[in-house]
Structures are given as structure tokens and as C-alpha cells.
Symmetry: C2
Subunit: 78 residues, 2 copies
């Protein structure tokens, strides 16, 4: 799960960035599963699977350059 | 989506807290959908639906007292 703060774009801009992530993810072994946007707060959460946290950062960097502020290696609760 | 930081309990303790949330949520009109835990970083993300952000805070407060550090009103991206 990564966290982006102070995101300036609106939900449509985030959706466009997400499409670029999905186009880019395969070569890094990453799968962007879901994302959530708080437009007013400028916060975005991206849930992805991949070999490590850094792989998600590489996808964001190549796809659109908007890297996350924080990345967490999470397990989903049951 | 809420964010808990510096969580001291392990994943099992978080699971127990989540069970208490689910037992408590109905009276506040809240539905905890999913949560994710980074044990090493002490971070927990809870995704819930409800009438407003404060309702999620009330559930956590009544259920176990471990309120979130941040709450965001998110829309899921498509």
C-alpha cells in the first residue's frame, strides 16, 4: 500500500496516472489492485502486489513520475 | 480509509480489534470492508463505509479505543 500526499490533480488525473501504471506494471512484476482518492485532501492510496516495495516505486516513476510519499508492505486482514 | 501509525500490537492483536469493530459498527451505520497491516512499520489501514469520517472514529473508540491518526473520505478508483 502506498500513500501519496498533496496530490494536485483531480480524480480524473489520478485515473489517468493509474492507467499509465497498469500499462507499465508488467515489466516490474507489479499488479496494481485498487486505489482510493480523497480529492479534497489530496491523498491517494494505491494497493499493489509485487516483488518488493521498490518495484511499485519504479512503476510510478516510469509511468508518470509521481512517486508515493510512503510505501508499506501490508498483509490483508481476515 | 483511516491510517493508524505506531501500532504496537501484532497482526493477531489487530485482527482482534477488527473483530470488535465489526461487533460495534452496526449502531453507527458503519461497515468495515477491509484492512491491511504492516506489522514491521506498525501501520494499519482500515477501509470502511459509513455516514461520515467521524462515525468510523466513534466505532474504533467504543470498540477498543485505538482511534486512527488520519481519516480520509475516499472514492475507489476505476
Amino acid at each position: 500500500m502506498d500513500v501519496h500526499r498533496n496530490v494536485e490533480g483531480d480524480a480524473e488525473a489520478v485515473a489517468e496516472a493509474h492507467r499509465k501504471d497498469v500499462e507499465t506494471q508488467e515489466s516490474y512484476g507489479v499488479d496494481y489492485k485498487s486505489y482510493w482518492v480523497d480529492e479534497d485532501a489530496g491523498a491517494v492510496f494505491c494497493l499493489f502486489e509485487g516483488p518488493d516495495k521498490e518495484s511499485g516505486e519504479r512503476v510510478h516513476r516510469e509511468a508518470h513520475g509521481l512517486v508515493a510519499d510512503e510505501i508499506y508492505e501490508v498483509q490483508e486482514g481476515r
